[in-house]
């Protein structure tokens, strides 16, 4: 039954394999940590027409680490849906319009003003109406670090503030 429920609530994704990242490491490595609402999501083919990327615009409510000149942040990730063709890359966090999120971000190395999600699926929490932060849709080696997969939002932000303060 749990599998069935899990299947219903998890986004459809593809999977690879990653090292598990703790909240402390995500906080330490991210240049920008924000909470906000996903306003818009659009996918497009690359210039050479060989792969698909998706750009999401997130309306920022709170900046927990880093600086941002605008109230919105552009987040890019691999994969998406253009016409009838869908590309999925393993462990990528997908964003949905209207979704409340907490994101660990790093600047995109090729496109100024655009950010990538740190640790891919691990760097995105979806915040539910129950104020529980959840992340999923990736496979990890958990031998290295203790992860916070499902955690009360307040507890998560408290941990992040603590780690930011220690830096």
């Amino acid at each position: 039954m749990l599998s069935l429920i899990g299947c219903m609530v998890l986004p459809f994704t593809a999977y690879g394999l990653m090292l598990g990242l703790s909240t402390e490491k995500l906080t330490r490595d991210a240049a920008l940590i924000v909470t906000g609402d996903v306003e818009d999501v659009s996918s497009q083919w690359s210039v050479d027409n060989k792969y698909i990327t998706t750009t999401a615009v997130v309306s920022v409510q709170q900046i927990m680490k880093g600086k941002l000149e605008q109230k919105k942040v552009r987040v890019m990730y691999m994969g998406g849906h253009v016409g009838n063709i869908v590309m999925r890359e393993s462990d990528v966090a997908q964003l949905s319009t209207g979704e409340k999120v907490l994101l660990f971000l790093s600047p995109d190395e090729q496109e100024s003003g655009t950010y990538r999600i740190q640790g891919r699926g691990q760097g995105k929490y979806s915040i539910g109406d129950d104020l529980i932060a959840r992340k999923h849709g990736f496979s990890v080696d958990t031998a290295h670090e203790q992860m916070d997969i499902t955690i009360p939002f307040e507890t998560l932000t408290g941990k992040i503030r603590k780690y930011v303060g220690e830096q």
Binding site: L2, S3, L4, G6, C7, F12, T13, A14, Y15, G16, L17, M18, L19, G20, L21, D29, K50, Y51, I52, Y77, M78, G79, H81, N84, I85, V86, M87, R88, E89, S90, D91, S106, E109, R116, I117, Q118, G119, R120, Q122, G123, F138, S139, V140, D141, T142, A143
Partner: protein
């Protein structure tokens, strides 16, 4: 005499068991495997029963090429599925993650902060309307240590290749504590060796690509209780046949349900004939099963 008295109870127990199993069988993730789906809920799969992969062994550890081929062969060896990975030869191409219709496995450094913790990546392209795959690539991140022997500090190429090829088949990861022995379990540790498929892994490939073996043929011998209860011209019979042939027959568990149903059909019919309550229960069961199939379609 006592046999006759127990027959209705046995029949009810069997119908209840069938109900549970049919509902269980209708949810493929409850089998112990999970398939990738389109946003519309269609299972993603290859349009044919084979997919060719090139391998670029540059950057792989010694015997990395044969380790990947061995992983391909392990999936091919599943006798209840007719799917085949085809090794198309070595390539020097590094066109990972591109929709070029050429599937490949390669080794190389994954560049970018978002890949810092990533051991291996799998990309797939498919038609969002039909779920049919057109391209799948796998890349092992050489920023990590890979091995083909039994190195406790390195990741085993064959183990991870077997897992990633499962994704190339459109099987998803599993995370429950009872899934740890499965190749499609979503967690892996350095030094972990898992080069054989579990029954659930085999059921997964069989669900997506059934056939090819000797265990997929179901011999129907008994009379059909559904026909007995509903009548031979009832419209629900077609849905029930679709349930049998289009869904249940595509999995090992489903085959067992079909066999159990027909092997006990004479006993079921005899019990139903004697008990109006049982007849109503059976009718209700068959109508519900047909409804499940209608919703599934």
């Amino acid at each position: 005499m006592s046999v006759n008295n127990n027959q209705p109870l046995r029949c009810i127990a069997l119908l209840c068991t069938c109900s549970v199993l049919v509902l269980w069988s209708c949810s493929e993730n409850a089998h112990g495997f999970q398939v990738s789906k389109t946003d519309g809920g269609l299972a993603i799969r290859w349009p044919t029963t084979s997919a060719g992969f090139y391998i670029n062994p540059a950057g792989a550890p010694s015997a990395g090429l044969s380790a990947i081929q061995a992983a391909m062969q392990t999936w091919i060896n599943v006798t209840t599925s007719n799917f085949s990975f085809v090794y198309k030869g070595q390539t020097s191409s590094t066109s990972f993650g591109q929709n070029d219709g050429s599937n490949m496995v390669c080794f190389g450094a994954l560049v970018g902060a978002q890949y810092d913790s990533t051991l291996a990546v799998n990309t797939i392209f498919f038609n969002g309307q039909t779920g049919l795959l057109s391209d799948s690539d796998i890349k092992f991140n050489t920023n990590f240590t890979w091995a083909t022997g039994n190195s406790p500090d390195a990741y085993d190429v064959q183990t991870i290749a077997l897992h990633e090829l499962g994704h190339a088949l459109a099987l998803d990861d599993l995370y429950e504590s009872g899934d740890t022995a499965k190749v499609m379990y979503g967690y892996c540790d350095p030094g972990e060796i898992k080069r054989f498929l579990s029954q659930d892994d085999m059921d997964g490939i069989t669900y997506l690509y059934p056939g090819g073996g000797t265990t997929t043929t179901t011999t129907i011998t008994g009379s059909c209780p559904a026909e007995f209860v509903l009548g031979q011209d009832h419209p629900d019979l077609q849905q029930l046949r679709s349930l049998r042939d289009g869904l249940l027959s595509r999995s090992v568990v489903g085959h067992r349900i079909i066999q159990m149903y027909y092997n006990n059909s004479d006993s079921i019919n005899a019990a139903i004939e004697r008990s109006p309550v049982l007849r109503d229960a059976a009718r209700s069961f068959f109508e519900t099963a047909a409804l499940v199939m209608v919703k599934k379609q």
